[in-house]
Amino acid sequence: MKSFNYHAPKDVKDASKLASSSSAFLAGGMTTIPSMKLGLASYKDVIDLKNIKKLSGIKVSGKTVTIGATTKHAEVAASKDVMKAIPALAKLAGNIGDAQVRNRGTIGGSISNNDPSACYPSACMALNAVIHTNKRKIEAEKFFTGMFETALKSGELVEAVEFEIPEKADYQKHPNPASRYAIIGVFVAKHKKDVNVAVTGAKSCVYIDKDLSKKLSSNFSVSAIEGMDVKSSGMNSDMHASAEYRANLVSLYAKKAVEAC
C-alpha cells in the first residue's frame, strides 16, 4: 500500500477542510483499505471519521429511522429499535459481508462508495431515504448517480441516512458465495400509497424496477408479478451470472420478498 497522511479530526468542519481531490474519508475502511492495498486507489490524505461522535447512532421517530454515517452494520443488525421499526433493514445489515466486516463496515461508507452490488443502496431507494450530508439533504434517487458514483461533492460527507418506515418490507439477496456481495438483491417496501422495488447487483447502479413497483402498488401479492418478464438489457454479465440469469433472479427474488413481507 502506498503511504499517505492519516488524520482523525474531531468534527465535521475539520474533516471537510482536510478534504481535497486526493483524499478519502475513512468510515470503517472495508472497501477503501483493500482498494488501496490492491493499488486500485491511492490517496495523499486519509481522513478517519471515527472521532466525530455525532456521526454514530440510531434514532427512531414516528415515521423515520435515522442511522448515523459511522454506525456499524453489526450495530444496525442488533438494534432492537431497527428490528421493531424496519426489520428488513436489520436483516439486510446482518447479512452484509461476514461477521468481521460487519464489525467494522459502516452505512455511510457503504453508500458513499456506491458499489453496484452493495446491499444498503437498495434499502435507501426502496425506503425513500434522505441522505443528510454536511451541506444538504439529498433524496436517495438523486444520490446514487452511477457505478461507484454519488452526488457527493469534494469535502462533502454523509452524516446520516433517514429511512421512511414502511408498512411492510423485505430484502432478499442472492449472494456471491465468496464475497457475499449481492449477485442480485431485491428490496421490496410497501408504503401507505405505493410500493417500491429496488434492485442492486443487476446493473451498473442500484435502481427502482418501475414495472414491478407499479404492479405491486395496485395489487400487493405474488400473483400480481407472476410470469412478469424482467428484461435483461443493461444487466451485468460476468463469470458469476449472465444478464439473463440475473433478470430471472430479479423476478424470483422480488416474489420471495413479497412472500416474506
Partner: protein, 153 residues
C-alpha cells in the same frame, strides 16, 4: 509517522510507525506476534482475525492508527498459565485443523461467536465462519470443535 499505543494481550505497547501501517503488520513486524497470519491479504480469508475491544475484526484491513488506544487480543493472548483456551483445546481434540494456517483466525472468530451465542447451531456456526476460509480440512471438524468448545465455555 504516527505514534500508536495499543494494549495487546494485556500489555501496553507504543510504537512510531508509518501512517499506513496495518494492524496485521503492526502485530507481526513491530511486536513479533506472528500467530496472526496473513493469508489472502484482501480481507476474504480471515486468517488475520483478532479481537479489538472484544470484537473480532480483520487485522489486514484495519489501520493500526484507526484503533489507537484499543485493547487487542491475538491468538497468543488466549492461553492462560500454560493451559490452552477451551477453543484451542477443542480444535486439538476434534482435529479441527490440518496445516494450521487458518487456525488462529478460525479460533479468534469462533471465540467471538461464543461470546454472543452460547450454544450456536451447526448452521449458525457455519454462517458465522463465512469470513474464515480453510483449504484443507473442510469444515466438518471445525464446526465440531466450536460445538465442543461451547460445552466448556
Amino acid at each position: 509517522m504516527t505514534k500508536v499505543t495499543l494494549e495487546v494481550n494485556g500489555k501496553k505497547f507504543s510504537k512510531e510507525v508509518p501512517d499506513h501501517t496495518l494492524l496485521s503488520v503492526f502485530l507481526r513486524d513491530n511486536l513479533n506476534l506472528t500467530g496472526t497470519h496473513v493469508g489472502c491479504d484482501t480481507s476474504q480469508c480471515g486468517a488475520c482475525v483478532v479481537h479489538v475491544n472484544g470484537k473480532s475484526i480483520k487485522s489486514c484491513s484495519t489501520l493500526a492508527a484507526d484503533i489507537e488506544g484499543s485493547k487487542v487480543t491475538t491468538i497468543e493472548g488466549l492461553a492462560k498459565d500454560g493451559r490452552l483456551h477451551p477453543m484451542q483445546a477443542a480444535f486439538k481434540k476434534t482435529h479441527g485443523l490440518q496445516c494450521g494456517y487458518c487456525t488462529p483466525g478460525m479460533v479468534m472468530s469462533a471465540v467471538d461467536l461464543l461470546q454472543t451465542k452460547k450454544n450456536p447451531s451447526d448452521q449458525e456456526i457455519r454462517e458465522w465462519l463465512e469470513g474464515n476460509i480453510c483449504r484443507c480440512t473442510g469444515y466438518q471438524n471445525i464446526v465440531a470443535a466450536v460445538k465442543e468448545a461451547a460445552t466448556k465455555m
